[in-house]
């Protein structure tokens, strides 16, 4: 370390600086900012409330109906600790090592120990908050459900919950301090291998989505008929085995509910506490030494080290203006971790996600409402996913950032430049939608084991979805041409989504729901005006939606391309 002296006043100043840097000064906060913050908080609370409700229901299933309370506690403790560790590693990496303020702070009359300590205090507080948010709903739900089920849950249980979570929070923090540098090295090694990164991102995205859909499927099946495979005798014995063997998670569960559920003696609970304290202290000591050994070296390496640059040898080849523009746009997305994830990974993973989502919706929808739900549901799901893909186009101008001036000085019409962007986003989305439709066709079409839709349905779903996809691309690009936000950070990438993205997503979801619900309703009922039927069959529905799609596409294209040159000229970075 450069210096190890720590002064309370320097530490206080650094923490204050950090807090202002993160949350902004309290002074000069506009009413708009206050409203926006209140809105964000309300939105987060609603989402969290929904998640907590889901957790409560799951706890109910495991504790009350299946009598697997202890095993449930061990499982959720393990799961949340792993999740908290991942979040903590990212926090430590970002704040201790990758934060651009290290170079600035080292110029101040503060020691590196003070910088490290001030940043570590933030990371630790962040970690406690994460652990509370993640674990508290599980433990509190457990207390409520176990109480309802007839177990004795005293007020002391909730005090134990707080103590337990506090003890748990040291583990992710200590592990993060030990693992942050190795993880960072692996990330640095991988970050220039764009294709490999993209594949990893797709696998993670698809994996997480499939796991999520399977959990929902299990819950829904459980609600339909309580005798499902997740509570088969074999699975129950697996849960019980896990509950017995899952160290160190079971120690935390012992401390919390040992006497209530598992009939564990006070001696065993005391031993669990001892083991928890021992591993906590051991990991904290290891984390402390690893950090003080590596911190200063790592940030100096970050400041003065020669980073491994991405290398790609090419030849000088001639392309048309349009092709060059298209290629440039693609490479800028492909070579960015954030953009690759937001766009390419999503576009490639969408067909698989559409398949799973549709499969689940059809499984429960067709059994409760009937198989006629399938075309409308497929349309709804495909358009929602294509919306998620093409909404990325709503940042296409904003993403130019400080290089926007180049689009103004090059001898290429603004309209042609925008068309090249539109073509790129359309091609990717059109292919993705085609593959999504193909997946649905294979799963539910005439060739499937249990065919639910025919070739006409598949063709109509494909055609309508493609037109809407292109229309949404037009609208997304239009929104960004209208009011781009050139907020850039770090290496020049847009890190925050702008309002255009929200608009594009909102419009897409409205269209998806509108089209989907229309197709579902009018596949069941007929629509007559006087004596003549306007909609008599699903084919009439397709004709109506095709006409609507053509109108929407035409209107979107007109909105985007009318006076485009003039509007583009007015954009001033």
């Amino acid at each position: 370390m450069r210096q190890s002296k720590i002064s309370a006043s320097s530490l206080k100043a650094l923490i204050k600086l950090d807090v202002i840097g993160r949350f902004g000064s309290r002074k000069d906060v506009s009413n708009k900012d206050i409203i926006s913050r209140i809105f964000n908080i309300l939105f987060s609370v609603i989402i969290y409330g929904v998640v907590v409700f889901g957790i409560y229901e799951l706890t109910n299933i495991f504790v009350k109906r299946s009598g697997l309370g202890y095993e449930w506690l061990v499982m959720v403790t393990g799961l949340t600790m792993i999740l908290a560790t991942i979040i903590s590693i990212v926090t430590v990496m970002k704040n201790l090592y990758m934060n651009g303020d290290n170079e600035l702070l080292l110029q101040f009359p503060v020691t590196s120990a003070e910088i490290l300590l001030s940043k570590s205090i933030y990371c630790f507080i962040h970690n406690i908050c994460v652990c509370m948010i993640l674990i508290l709903p599980f433990y509190v739900s457990f207390g409520v459900v176990a109480g309802d089920a007839g177990f004795t849950i005293s007020k002391g249980y909730y005090v134990e919950v707080i103590v337990d979570i506090f003890l748990i929070s040291f583990i992710p923090f200590a592990l993060a301090n030990i693992l942050a540098v190795p993880v960072m090295m692996v990330v640095n090694k991988l970050k220039n291998r764009h294709l490999l990164m993209l594949i990893i991102l797709i696998v993670l995205l698809v994996g997480a989505f499939i796991a999520y859909m399977e959990v929902i499927r299990m819950i829904l099946r459980y609600f339909q008929s309580e005798s499902v495979s997740i509570f088969s005798p074999q699975m129950i014995s697996t849960y019980k085995y896990f509950g017995r063997m899952a160290y160190p998670f079971k120690w935390y569960a012992n401390m919390l509910s040992g006497t209530i559920l598992a009939g564990i003696s006070h001696k065993e609970i005391g031993l669990s506490f001892l083991y928890v304290m021992l591993i906590t202290v051991a990991l904290l000591v290891a984390g402390f030494f690893v950090t003080i050994k590596l911190y200063y070296k790592t940030i100096l390496w970050g400041i003065e080290g020669t980073k491994e640059a991405f290398k790609h040898k090419t030849r000088m080849r001639k392309h048309s203006q349009f092709e060059a523009s298209l290629r440039r746009e693609f490479l800028l997305i492909y070579r960015s971790f954030n953009y690759s994830f937001q766009y390419l990974a999503m576009a490639i993973a969408a067909p698989i996600m559409v398949y799973y989502c549709n499969n689940l919706a059809v499984e429960f929808g067709s059994s409760s409402v009937g198989p006629k739900i399938v075309p409308g549901l497929s349309l709804l799901v495909i358009i929602i996913f294509s919306t998620m893909i093409v909404s990325f186009a709503a940042t296409t101008i904003s993403r130019e950032g400080s290089e926007f001036y180049l689009t103004k000085i090059i001898p290429m019409k603004y309209t042609t430049q925008v068309i090249s962007k539109f073509v790129l986003y359309s091609i990717v989305a059109v292919i993705s939608v085609a593959l999504s439709t193909l997946a649905i066709g294979l799963a539910f079409g005439p060739g499937a084991k249990k065919p639910l839709i025919g070739y006409t349905d598949i063709f109509a779903i494909w055609g309508i979805s493609e037109m809407i996809t292109m229309a949404l691309t037009c609208l997304s690009v239009w929104a960004d041409v209208k009011s781009p936000t050139f907020n850039v950070a770090g290496d020049g990438e847009m890190v925050k989504a702008n309002k255009n993205l929200a608009i594009a997503l909102g419009v897409g979801i409205v269209v998806a729901v509108g089209f989907g619900v229309f197709a579902i309703i009018f596949n069941y009922i007929k629509w007559a005006v006087g004596n003549s039927y306007l909609i008599d069959s699903i084919n009439d529905v397709y004709i109506a939606l095709t006409i609507a799609s053509i109108v929407i596409l035409g209107a979107s294209a007109s909105v985007l391309f009318a006076n485009l040159n003039k509007r583009y000229m007015k954009i001033v970075p």
């Binding site: 290398k311 040898k313 000088m316 523009s325 490479l331 290089e403 001036y405 090059i410 290429m412």
Partner: protein, 274 residues
């Protein structure tokens, strides 16, 4: 080569003109310096000329092409190096120059020839296939300059091009400017470096608060060269005798150390006594 007439620009929501009624004409084969304090309107004028900013009134013609009526024709004749030398940093140096060459429709043979020539000149051979993100400030500036010359523009516009460059790179750029005008092209650059303008430019103009307040010949005009600093300080309203004398004497010592020899014996003795 470049004809600006009555150029006027006011930013939206601003109550004053950033550029007001500026007119000038540049001839083929000249280097033209554009001077002014920070915020005087230099960059705004350049951004209007290059087509980045729309303007309220006036006309701009580049090689006979009106930037508003025929922007493509005008832009094809021009190369622009911005003050922040922003380029697409996710591309490699070679990819970026190739992209620009594609956009300016440069033939394969020509782009290879020009690219190799400049890459060697700026000693970027090792870095050319690395992502621009990893380049230093000076290297980014150099790749930006190469990209603006790959289509051999008739009008080369540089906005404060020497900032942050090492002496060797500055010397290379000066040489490039001279070479460029030797072929009958024109160089238009803005700068705060009065000495550089004095040495390099055939003519120069001074803008102050959006208006062009002085315009004079420097080539073969020793009187104008000698008075440039004083005129600049007086025109921009920043003249203070104390500051000017310090500046002028410092510059004289830095740039023309030989003037020491011209001092009389008496003056030299007086200096020593001081």
């Amino acid at each position: 080569m470049l004809k600006v007439e009555g150029l006027t620009k006011r930013y939206p929501k601003s109550d004053r003109y950033s550029v007001k009624d500026i007119s000038f004409e540049l001839k083929p084969g000249e280097i033209f310096g554009f001077l002014g304090q920070n915020g005087a309107g230099k960059s705004t004028t350049i951004k209007c000329i290059t087509g980045i900013l729309p303007f309220d009134s006036g006309t701009i013609e580049i090689c006979g092409h009106d930037i508003v009526k025929d922007p493509i024709g005008a832009k094809l004749e021009m190369g622009y190096v911005p003050d922040n030398h922003s380029v697409y940093e996710k591309l490699t140096g070679r990819e970026y120059v190739n992209y620009v060459a594609d956009i300016y429709r440069v033939s394969k043979e020509k782009r290879v020839e020009i690219y190799n020539q400049y890459i060697e000149l700026f000693k970027l051979q090792e870095a050319q296939d690395k992502q621009i993100k990893s380049y230093s400030h000076g290297m980014k500036q150099k790749i930006c300059i190469i990209s603006t010359l790959v289509h051999e523009p008739k009008l080369w516009i540089l906005d404060e091009p020497m900032i942050g460059l090492d002496p060797q790179a500055i010397a290379e750029i000066i040489a490039l400017m001279k070479q460029h005008v030797a072929k009958g092209n024109t160089v238009f650059f803005s700068s705060h470096n009065l000495d550089l303008v004095k040495k390099l430019c055939d003519r120069c103009a001074v803008v102050n608060r959006g208006e062009m307040v002085d315009f004079f010949d420097l080539k073969d005009n020793e009187e104008n060269k000698k008075n440039l600093e004083e005129r600049f300080f007086k025109i921009t309203g920043t003249y203070e005798e104390r500051l000017f004398k310090d500046y002028a004497s410092q510059e004289l010592a830095d740039v023309r150390p030989d003037t020491e020899a011209e001092k009389t014996e008496g003056e030299a003795e007086e200096d020593e006594t001081k």
